[in-house]
Subunit: 420 residues, 3 copies
């Protein structure tokens, strides 16, 4: 049984999607060109295609089924994820091509540009994890569009002002997505109600689907981290590093999940959140992690940090800031991403012989983080404020909808209705 939509949703979601889609097609007719320029690019087919598919699987299947754990939200979770991922990818394809369009009036579409666009869409999927079950599909679509715009802007700033290399700037998606999502849920929730959320429910079968999503993310994460690396040598290292880091973080996460449970239970939701921490940490620092033990130590630290975040920070955020983070994106992506940023800084300085170069790198690297954090926080607040301001009738009614629209007995934003 699909959730029952509010009647007014019908008049909003369908036109929104159709208008967006028609717009994308018109832009494509005007600017897109499907042409590989030369022989070298053609060779890239062999290079990229299997990894493109792996990334595809992670985005559509991994994130899609990761979202199925709330027992009453399973089906819609995977369906909406597909929708949001596709729209965000198309939008990112356009935004990433603006630069090239400005110069040549043509946006080239090839495998690499689609992969880049998909990675941008991932940052939107991460953000959406934090408001899962509290928003309707119309809101999800608009949030994804704004989030991708913010991320593309951030990427452009980093690449033009701070000369950050593209793979490094894109990998900050973990930090950007998590902080954006956090602000979003904070604003939406604060405006709505003062009453705490009950715990998310899940049952065994939806838990297995969710496990399926985690397992797909876990398996294909090496492709995710290595797909943008140009050089074969470095790419191989990236794959091995990511694999080792994920392995260590999975074991550590399981150990800590048992340790932190009062009855020695293996809390599956906690484990699932923290198993992937190593992948995000290595992803952000992939260009400098060279030795296996560095990757493994990074995975170990990331899992500990992520578990601490899940156990203490999540509750703390809920109680102190009234900020409810459904999928714990802060501990799954945010903290490991920050750790990866730190590891990048430390390792790069360690490898620098020259003191001046090291200081210069450190300043640039700190500026990179500062830009990303401030842009993600401000974009998150703006996006949240856009939907969450109770004075804007149109948007408030959207949120009101979510009470009727969702069938979460536990997660319902029921109080919004009472207030308005």
């Amino acid at each position: 049984m699909a959730p029952q939509y509010a009647p007014s949703l019908r008049s909003r979601l369908a036109p929104l999607l159709l208008i967006l889609q028609t717009g994308f097609i018109i832009i494509a007719a005007l600017c897109f060109e499907n042409k590989e320029a030369n022989k070298l690019d053609r060779k890239s087919f062999l290079h990229f295609y299997p990894e493109f598919q792996d990334v595809n699987v992670m985005i559509i299947l991994g994130f899609g089924f990761l979202c199925t754990f709330p027992v009453r939200y399973g089906f819609s979770g995977s369906g909406f994820n597909l929708l949001v991922a596709i729209i965000a990818t198309q939008w990112a394809l356009i935004l990433n091509g603006i630069d090239s369009w400005y110069n040549t009036k043509i946006i080239r579409i090839d495998l690499k540009s689609i992969i880049k666009a998909e990675l941008c869409a991932v940052s939107a999927l991460i953000s959406i994890g934090s408001v899962l079950g509290k928003t309707n599909p119309v809101q999800l679509t608009l949030i994804a569009l704004l989030e991708v715009t913010g991320f593309a802007l951030n990427e452009w700033l980093l690449q033009t002002l701070l000369k950050v290399r593209p793979p490094n700037s894109i990998m900050l998606l973990h930090v950007f997505g998590a902080l954006f999502g956090l602000m979003l849920t904070w604003i939406l929730y604060r405006d709505g109600s003062k009453q705490g959320f009950e715990k998310e429910k899940f049952d065994r079968k939806s838990g297995l689907f969710s496990m399926l999503g985690v397992v797909f993310l876990w398996m294909f994460w090496p492709s995710f981290n290595s797909v943008l690396v140009e050089d074969d040598q470095t790419r191989l290292e990236a794959v091995c590093s990511t694999y080792l880091s994920l392995a260590v973080s999975a074991v550590t996460a399981a150990a800590l999940a048992v340790l932190s449970s009062p009855r020695g239970k293996l809390n599956p939701i906690q484990m699932q959140s923290c198993v992937l921490a190593g992948g995000a940490a290595v992803g952000v620092s992939v260009s400098v992690v060279q030795q296996p033990w560095e990757a493994m130590a990074l995975g170990f630290t990331a899992a500990i940090l992520s578990t601490l975040g899940y156990r203490y920070l999540k509750t703390h955020l809920l109680i102190a800031f009234e900020c409810h983070d459904t999928c714990s994106v802060l501990s799954t992506h945010g903290l490991p991403g920050l750790l990866g940023w730190l590891a990048h800084l430390v390792l790069q300085i360690k490898y620098c012989d020259d003191h001046t170069v090291a200081v210069r790198f450190a300043v640039f690297h700190i500026c990179t983080l500062f830009t990303t954090v401030s842009l993600s926080l401000s974009m998150g607040i703006i996006t949240g404020g856009r939907f969450g301001d109770p004075n804007k009738t149109k948007n408030a009614s959207m949120i009101r909808l979510s009470g009727r629209y969702l069938h979460f007995p536990n997660l319902v934003v029921r109080n919004l209705r009472q207030k308005n």
Copy 2:
């Protein structure tokens, strides 16, 4: 709990499978040779292997789990799909090799011939979607054998008489499979009973498995469309076109599913049927779709056409012609396939400079469709008549079986029993 088979089924299915399998092994011992001829072919390992696996995943997992949505049929659906896919592939391997056997007394088995055979098997899997839950495994096996024979015959006719290139002729599998299946269910059903079928039931969990199948088909469809393309350049274009077309058709299908529902619900079965329309349409016209916007527009039109087919044509066929199409193969594969054929015609003529060449192509192209349609319809009627004729006692008893054999409260061919 597996469905309880009629006792007499035991004495039929097992011998049939064992005889077929022994026959295939004997033929293999006489004709097959597992030998790559030269260095160039060897290089093809790198080219083909990942895409071979993707196609494999689509056939075994995608189609297999797509069939799990009827709540009481899940397990058997995926099991029988595996069985039918394998038998059809082996049979296609033999049929596709007859030509080479005629000349050299040897059928070469390599990755490419297995991929071709798997694509032929897909046409059988599509047909079987339309009689899902109304036939027993013995019938499914025989239908698959006859369908693959028909498809191989069609391919041979197109390639020898009309000089259609192999990738183009194979991609007509969507049209062939859908029309064959439609005739099949029409004949089987008409002979059986005048009473209408109730709606197919599905529940949330089996819906998620079905979603899993759809998502796998969606993700790997670019491999499906590009695997037979020889040239790297064209293959890359095929991948990008298919991806864009699928993206657009998924968004459009979701929008139309919300729009066409009286309460604004997102009907998952409808969405699942129409999400893949873009892939089928681009598949049939893959050799001429060059610009991204063409692929996107094709995906958009295919999703609209498929949704219209699902909403109106399916009901119309049931009421007017008493033709019940379980998996809506007509709207998922048939209509988008025809659209792709039309797009091929239009785009090819557009790219032609010479008027005479264009007309000549149009005539040949129309003949291609005519051959495919007439062969698929007649083979479907013959196959259906073979199983559906109530005068043939042996076959009628097979159908009678299906009443007892299947545990569908809704889909049971209960009336067959009453009549006979």
Copy 3:
């Protein structure tokens, strides 16, 4: 709902995992080096990466979800499988590198060494299948460590004493894992109780997850068998042979499952056990199977043997030797592995022109099997005795735990508690 752990488990599992993981990181810091030496190795990225991912999918997802069929064990089954697979892989990475460390004080980590380590981990996963649901995660972890040690020792013996080529020695993992697991469950069970186990329960939904695991194993088995083959030509042949063999064994297994059921039902658990037999048989003999019909005949025989094993040997072992094999690893991996060994012998002798060479090969080949079997049996007995000796209080309490720890109404080792 995760199973409720005995409180004392908390104090054991978490420290064990953390200590192991810290130890692995320290060893990595001392010995591992993530460096590809030369250009040729770099090219191997393109060769290996997609197959590496396929093997990864088989291990994490295939074996993980294969274990979900016991209805109350689904979630933990997949979680523990992930844990055990990762720990076993890391341990195998260290053990496989001892030789290189002895010479150069460095263990090179690249894709190939990770793949080899994963294949060693598979032998542990197979063993664990036989004690599934009768052991707690602490035991599973220790069993995996001992099993991998034994397998690495066996591999080293075969390669240094008998000059067996690495791919051939590693592929004996099916035989080694199955016999090790059988001894393990025999010792653990004999020491525990004289009372028979009831049948394993499963329901339709957990059955579908299990089917998912089987299907993933089925699809990617060609990669499993070909990943270690160096030569492109041979690898292509390995892929085709494995595919054909799996196809034939799936059809044969289904036919026999129907035939051997008194009511003509398709027993899904039996079918799932036997569908994969062809893959294991061809895997062990992959270097000599050249013609398609040989592979197909091997698949046919393997499926028959596996079905006979499942129907008669499993019950016989339970009644005569009180040896309960949860996942039927003997019939799924053991018997087909032995068949593959025999096929290797027969085919190699057939291809030998020289009589002396043939005899010499036969002697070596028999020694190979003898070493593997005796080592696996003795290691299994040692490992089982270690955990199963009721006089060792510490370990006996571990087993006692499993009664409380597991929520199997049918599989509970309830009597252990009564006895002690």
